[in-house]
C-alpha cells in the first residue's frame, strides 16, 4: 500500500505502509450501522451491537487507514480480545457451557 503526502510529493519520496493482514476493529457509523461499508472493504461482521451504530468486524489491515477518514464513519479503532477475561465471562454467563 502506498501513500502520498505533500512532503512526499515535494521530495519525490515513496512511502509504503505494510499493515497487518487482518484485524478486529470497532467500527461506528455516523448515522447508521456501517455494515455496508465493512462489506465494501472486504470485512466480515463479527457482532452487531444493539442500540447503536457500532459493529465489531474483522477487516483487512489495508482497509484501516482508508476507513480512518471515511466520511460516513464516526470512529474506527483496532480491538483485541483479552482471552482470559473473555473466557471467564463466557464461563460466568453460561455461554461456554
Amino acid at each position: 500500500m502506498a501513500q502520498r503526502s505533500n512532503i512526499a510529493r515535494a521530495f519525490g519520496a515513496q512511502i509504503r505502509v505494510t499493515p497487518p493482514d487482518t484485524g478486529l476493529f470497532l467500527v461506528e457509523g455516523r448515522t447508521r450501522p456501517p455494515g455496508q461499508i465493512i462489506a465494501e472493504f472486504g470485512g466480515q461482521i463479527v457482532l452487531v451491537i444493539p442500540g447503536g451504530n457500532r459493529i465489531l468486524a474483522l477487516l483487512p489491515g489495508a482497509a484501516y487507514p482508508a476507513l480512518l477518514s471515511h466520511r460516513d464513519l464516526r470512529h474506527i479503532g483496532p480491538v483485541s480480545i483479552d482471552q482470559e477475561r473473555f473466557a471467564h465471562f463466557m464461563e460466568q454467563s453460561g455461554l461456554a457451557r
Binding site: 470497532l26 451491537i49 483485541s80 471467564h88 465471562f89
Partner: protein
C-alpha cells in the same frame, strides 16, 4: 577556489536534523495512535449490551422442567474482554546513500607569434607567446535517504480494564433426580 572534499560532503548530510525530524514524526504518530486507542477504549467502555448472566433450571414435583432467565444485566464490551489495541514504534532506521563523483580537467593552449619589420637600415622583430591555462573542476552528488519504522502491538495499560470481582449468588442447582 573552494573545493569541498568527499569527506566534507558526507559531513554536510544533515543527519542530526533527519534524526530529529524522524523522532518528532514518530512522537507525533505515536500520539495520534494513542489518542485513537484511548478513543476506542472509551467507545468500548460506553458500549453496553444486555446479557442474561444466569438461567435457573427448575425440576418440578410433577416432573416438568422449567427455565427462568434472570433479568438481563448491561455489561460493557470492555468488561467482557474486548480491549483497544495499542501500537508502539519498536524500531526506526535511517539509511543515507551518497554517490559522489569528482572530476578535474586541465586545458593548456600555447600560441606563438613572430613579427619582423625592416626598412631604411633599421629592422625590428618581436615574438609573442600566449599561454592559456584552464583548469576545470566538476562534481556530481546524488543522495538518497531511506527511513524505516516498525510498529508492534503492545499490551494495553494494565489498569485499563476494570477489575472483575465475581459474586456468584445463583441458587445451587437442584440435583437431577436419578432414574430408579
Amino acid at each position: 577556489m573552494a573545493k569541498s572534499s568527499v569527506g566534507q560532503e558526507l559531513l554536510n548530510v544533515p543527519l542530526p536534523e533527519m534524526v530529529m525530524k524522524l523522532g518528532l514524526g514518530i512522537a507525533e504518530a505515536q500520539r495520534a495512535l494513542d489518542e485513537n486507542s484511548v478513543e476506542t477504549a472509551k467507545e468500548l467502555a460506553d458500549t453496553t449490551i444486555p446479557l442474561v448472566l444466569s438461567t435457573v433450571q427448575t425440576f418440578h414435583e410433577d416432573g416438568s422442567v422449567s427455565f427462568e432467565n434472570m433479568p438481563p444485566v448491561d455489561v460493557s464490551l470492555l468488561q467482557i474482554g474486548l480491549l483497544p489495541t495499542f501500537y508502539q514504534f519498536a524500531e526506526a532506521t535511517i539509511e543515507v546513500t551518497m554517490d559522489i563523483k569528482t572530476t578535474s580537467s586541465t586545458d593548456t593552449s600555447v600560441k606563438v607569434g613572430a613579427k619582423a619589420k625592416a626598412g631604411f637600415g633599421m629592422w625590428s622583430a618581436s615574438v609573442s607567446v600566449d599561454v592559456a591555462h584552464n583548469r576545470k573542476f566538476g562534481k556530481e552528488v546524488h543522495g538518497t535517504s531511506r527511513l524505516v519504522t516498525r510498529m508492534v502491538p503492545v499490551p494495553p495499560p494494565p489498569r485499563i480494564a476494570p477489575e472483575l470481582v465475581v459474586n456468584d449468588l445463583r441458587p445451587t442447582p437442584e440435583p437431577t433426580p436419578s432414574p430408579e
